[in-house]
């Protein structure tokens, strides 16, 4: 089954939860007992319509405040695909959740309230989609029923977003504009009778037609070794398998590989998955690889094809999204987790804060606060083998961990 991961983003009251509830309802993904619960709660609150947002707002605190406060995962399927929606909150203070939700997404839906048009939050969402290089972005212009299904209003919003896109550094993004009403169901699953001026697809048609292979990250092959498998049984006495997941490209038996960071050369002897051997393993596969030579490979090392080596260095430049209440300051030390590899990192320079409303940068700031995005330079305790994020997402990203609290405090995108 093909799986498509989608991140949703919008401002408070853009109707994001309602949209997701509507998708679940129209694709018949709400089960009878869940539907009953929604009907019952809607009635209790005195609504004369079904409050679909009740399908997703999970935590008690959220229901009390009537807002979404964390990343919630929602699952549904159509005959052609399985969908996972990471529903992320739209408040200014929760940018970190949006980055989190978008980091595993292949597509993204940005909601805009047709009455309010493009607001500061829209800039931010659009910015994050660009920073994370989400390939397929849907601009869902919602609440069209409240602006009399006005084509003019829709076109103004479309023009503003297109202008933003023209200023963005990431040019590979597919933008799709869809006017809809989540509450009334226009252009969500079924085509709207109220907007004959709109010739495009409905939201669900668009998402169903997306080619999940195509929008995945393709680049040079990277195989970070998670653990070494040594059964030490009679049958597998000499078996020494390197377990990991293949990113970027494929591997084939016989491929000449380099072990990083040592740059030792060998050849792929076997590719194992459970009790079978294969000739070729495609990207995205968790497999076990054995090598021709008895070389020294351990957790955190990486196998790549020879002549496709990434950069190996003890320092790097990155854009960081800060996720912790305690701000980042130059000269602080953190643990860095780059894929499955761990090291220590010192912030040698905090050069700028990037304004997420596209209004430029602030140079030489003293610190980077929660939900701010900035450029830094890191010094590492050992060499890491990394790519630029724009060339390889998995090998171009890392997290920072506060050694005192063990919390994940930032996510980095290598330049």
């Amino acid at each position: 089954m093909k799986v498509l991961k989608i991140a949703t983003a919008g401002s408070v009251d853009d109707g994001k939860s309602t949209l997701i509830g509507r998708i679940l309802y129209d694709t018949k993904s709400l089960t009878d007992d869940k539907l009953e619960a929604i009907e019952e709660k809607s009635q209790q609150r005195g609504f004369d319509y079904l409050d679909f947002s009740l399908a997703t707002d999970g935590l008690v605190a959220e229901r009390e405040q009537g807002i979404t406060i964390d990343v919630a995962h929602i699952y549904f399927s159509t005959p052609s695909k399985s969908f996972i929606i990471a529903d992320t909150p739209g408040h200014i203070e929760y940018t970190r959740n949006m980055v989190t939700g978008a980091s595993t997404a292949q597509a993204s839906i940005v909601l805009i309230d047709a009455r309010n048009g493009v607001v500061e939050q829209t800039y931010r969402h659009f910015f994050i989609n660009n920073l994370l290089r989400i390939k397929d972005v849907v601009i869902a212009v919602n609440k069209m029923d409240l602006v009399d299904y006005s084509e003019e209003k829709y076109n103004v919003i479309k023009g503003e977003i297109e202008y933003l896109a023209s200023k963005s550094e990431y040019k590979g993004q597919n933008l799709t504009f869809i006017p809809l009403s989540a509450l009334k169901g226009d252009n969500v699953v079924a085509k709207s009778d109220n907007m004959s001026w709109y010739q495009g697809e409905t939201l669900m048609h668009h998402l169903e037609a997306l080619d999940t292979e195509d929008i995945n990250d393709e680049s040079q092959t990277r195989f970070p070794v998670q653990t070494v498998i040594r059964p030490k049984t009679e049958e597998y006495h000499d078996f020494r398998g390197y377990a990991g997941k293949i990113y970027g490209g494929d591997f084939e038996v016989g491929d000449e590989v380099a072990v990083l960071p040592s740059l030792t050369k060998s050849k792929i002897k076997t590719i194992n998955f459970f009790d079978k051997e294969y000739q070729i393993a495609k990207r995205g596969s968790s497999v076990t690889i054995t090598l021709e030579d008895n070389v020294n490979v351990s957790r955190g090392d990486m196998l790549v094809k020879t002549n496709e080596e990434p950069k190996i260095a003890k320092q790097l430049d990155a854009t960081i999204c800060w996720m912790d209440k305690e701000p980042l300051q130059a000269s602080q030390k953190y643990y860095i987790k780059h894929g499955v590899n761990d090291a220590q990192a010192k912030i040698t320079q905090l050069s700028s804060i990037i304004k997420t409303d596209f209004s430029g940068i602030e140079e030489n700031p003293s610190e980077l606060e929660l939900n701010q995005i900035g450029d830094v330079q890191l010094k590492l305790s050992k060499p890491l083998a990394f790519d630029a994020y724009k060339n390889n997402k998995s090998n171009g990203s890392f997290i920072l961990i506060n050694p005192k609290t063990n919390n994940t405090v930032g996510v980095g995108f290598i330049k």
């Binding site: 995962h73 699952y75 377990a243 051997e277 294969y278 996720m323 894929g339 063990n406 994940t408």
Partner: protein
């Protein structure tokens, strides 16, 4: 040498990746095994993650004493075949020693009592990672659970202070006394699990398939009348029906559904067409809307 290409399915690949991270990042992991289809699926994924080596951690069953006998028999056979260590800790022991008090009456269940036994066992063995089969599609509060979910000494979940999980990097760093609950099939749905069991031809306990059973109806749900642990009023009439169970939890709070699905293909077909979610058949979630969130804050799995 075969000349074929392997593309591991995204969800399976992700789960295997998570298992390998657990073994690499923790000293003493354990797989919490209930004998249910989700934990049986976990066992298969763990086998795949470390093959040809054996599963490198024990399985642990927190036994409520209210299990279907079919489940216990299945559990013992499976662990023997795999050659893995099985640890069993009984809720009954805590009841006998007076550490926990058993609920009585119509809706009595031992589900809540499992928490205390689980926390005791974690302390007894010093487990730092407990792998479980929870899925985000099961329930609204679960939808926000992380793959590596950090718990304190009391097993509590602090939903407002969860670590962000970006890309597939998993931060397993913890302080002494903390432990992590790990959910490798977080992103699977009930249908995904059933389809996998079908595809992999995994054996599961017989109560998942339609069979004749003495049952009675209460609150629109069908309950097993075979065993004394299920409380039944005298006026509640016992009738033999063709039923199956969608989960194999505590017998006292696991309802059956009417079904003709006698094999795995028919079960998958039935789930595909189904209109009652799996948790709809668990009475303890129906107690209140916030039931699951409260239990999790108290250290429930």
């Amino acid at each position: 040498m075969s000349h074929t290409t392997i593309q591991v399915d995204a969800l399976e690949s992700e789960a295997i990746y998570i298992f390998r991270e657990v073994v690499a990042q923790f000293e003493k992991p354990v797989l919490l095994f209930s004998g249910g289809k989700d934990s049986i699926t976990l066992v298969r994924l763990a086998q795949k993650a470390f093959y040809p080596a054996k599963i490198p951690f024990p399985l642990m069953h927190i036994d409520t004493g209210h299990n279907f006998p079919e489940t216990i028999e299945f559990r013992d056979r499976l662990t023997k075949e795999l050659g893995v260590e099985l640890i069993v800790r009984n809720v009954q022991d805590n009841i006998d020693s007076g550490r926990v008090k058993e609920e009585t009456g119509r809706y009595a269940s031992r589900n809540m009592l499992q928490t205390e036994t689980l926390l005791d066992a974690i302390e007894e063995f010093g487990f730092d990672a407990c792998i479980g089969g929870a899925r985000r599609d099961e329930e609204k509060a679960r939808a926000k659970e992380r793959i590596f979910s950090v718990r304190d000494d009391f097993g509590q979940w602090d939903e407002k202070n969860q670590r962000p999980e970006v890309f597939d990097m998993l931060n397993g760093k913890i302080d002494l006394g903390q432990n992590v609950r790990v959910f490798p099939i977080s992103n699977w749905t009930e249908l995904d699990v059933w389809s996998y069991i079908e595809q992999e031809e995994i054996e599961i306990p017989s109560i998942y398939f339609a069979h004749k059973r003495k049952t009675f109806v209460r609150d629109g749900m069908i309950w097993s009348a075979d065993d004394e642990v299920v409380y039944r009023d005298e006026e509640e009439e016992v009738v033999e029906r063709m039923v199956r169970f969608r989960t194999v939890g505590d017998m006292s709070c696991t309802a059956a559904v009417l079904s003709d699905a006698i094999d795995i293909n028919k079960v998958v077909e039935e789930i595909r067409d189904s209109s009652i979610s799996e948790r709809g058949a668990r009475i303890d979630d129906k107690r209140s809307e916030a039931a699951m969130e409260k239990r999790k804050q108290q250290g429930y799995f």
